[in-house]
Amino acid sequence: MTDQQTFSLDGKSIAFEDGDTIMDAALRSGEYIPHLCHNPEFKPHGSCRVCIVNVNGRHVSSCTFPASQDLKVESNTAEIKQKRQSLLQMLFVEGNHVCPGCEKSGACQLQAVAYYCDMLSPHFTHFFPRREVDASHHDFLIDYNRCIVCELCVRASNDVDGKQVFSIQQRGIQRHLAVNSDSGRLGDTSFSKTDKAAHVCPVGAILPKDIGYNQPIGHRLYDRQPISQVGDVAANDKTLQEEDTPHG
């Protein structure tokens, strides 16, 4: 056997290849590191910070940090778990997440990661921002209340669909997703259900219409098994393969 490069993740030896991030290598060897804005099909973003790990006393996002020989990476510690919980809580209070009234509930990655991290409450003071729902599109709706600005739809639409349907506005706490059309409505763009961008949203912000409760509550993706076993929302979205293949 040739020299296999490895680093340690919570004491386990993880093999990696040149150019791998910690996340790449961990995913390949079946080790789960919680994440939201990361999707292995896209360029790492590093914005949600949920995948932080401790590397030599420093916190880094594992989706962006390059793996290197003999790195000592800690992910599953009480301290890191606590920080992830706080980050998740921030995402919850920043938007309006009324899970009992959300079609995505049970199959939502924000929720699933929060379950995985034992989050029982949003802890912080809620912002209760005023946000809109855009139901102008024939097949999809956008509920901005639930958008965590992970930019996956932006990346998918730019990099895969070549359509630039989405963009980001403003900065700071005002930073938000917008649709690239004069009206600002999704219905006035070329967005289609076969777009990659229609199948990457980790939460209930970009939702297909009319199929909301096909899968009953209690039988959904994360109702019985944790995300560490089931995998990401996007990885479980088989609709694209079933439908005609996407263009672009």
Binding site: P100, Y115, L120, H126
Partner: protein, 193 residues
């Protein structure tokens, strides 16, 4: 799950009196209380360990000194605030039970609108309203501008999410709490919906 008889024996040794428990529903739908009753026959075991103070189950109106206070529902009006503060003063341990108590829940969806818009829709512009006027009787508690989860009004010791949390979740929690064990749940028992 804890064996209730062991638990009872253990408790009787450490404290002769029963544990006092109070519950209330603020801005909620009583679903969490229904779920509480869903612990079914285990409620009989529970009443061996605990004595109910104020609770919709027994209609005691004012909360007295308690070990555990369980709050269903968020904080939507002045009365909710007062009741919640009374609970906090009287209960050693305060528990937020269910989505509305934990994050405002469905009632907090009104936070998307101005209070005035909500009231006008309900009492003035809505369909089939006769004699449209916004009630101003001093008997009616004033509404807060927004609906809040209870931890934004008082300090909360434990949170049980769910709409409602299942009977099993509540049971797990109560037995662990009463027994003084660390609170932890099997995966399926925690959900936000």
């Amino acid at each position: 799950m804890a064996d209730i008889n062991n638990l009872k024996n253990k408790l009787e040794k450490t404290r002769p009196e029963k544990i006092k428990l109070a519950t209330t529903s603020l801005c909620g739908c009583f679903g969490c209380h229904m779920s509480f009753l869903d612990i079914d026959e285990r409620i009989l075991q529970l009443v061996e360990l605990v004595e109910f103070d104020r609770s919709p189950i027994n209609d005691i109106k004012k909360v007295g000194p308690c070990d555990i206070g369980i709050i269903e529902g968020g904080v939507a009006n002045a009365e909710n605030v007062e009741v919640l503060q009374e609970f906090r003063k009287n209960c050693k341990t305060l528990v937020a039970l269910g989505a509305c108590a934990v994050n405002g829940g469905i009632p907090a969806m009104r936070n998307q609108f101005e209070l005035k818009e909500c009231l006008e829709e309900a009492y003035i512009n809505g369909v089939g309203i006769e004699n449209p006027m916004i009630p101003s009787d001093p008997e009616i508690p004033l509404l807060l501008n927004k609906v809040h989860p209870i931890h934004e009004v008082v300090k909360v010791d434990y949170f049980l999410p769910g709409c409602p949390p299942s009977g099993d979740t509540i049971w797990t929690f109560l037995t662990e709490l009463i027994e003084g064990r660390p609170i932890s749940f099997p995966y399926e028992q925690i959900h936000y919906d």
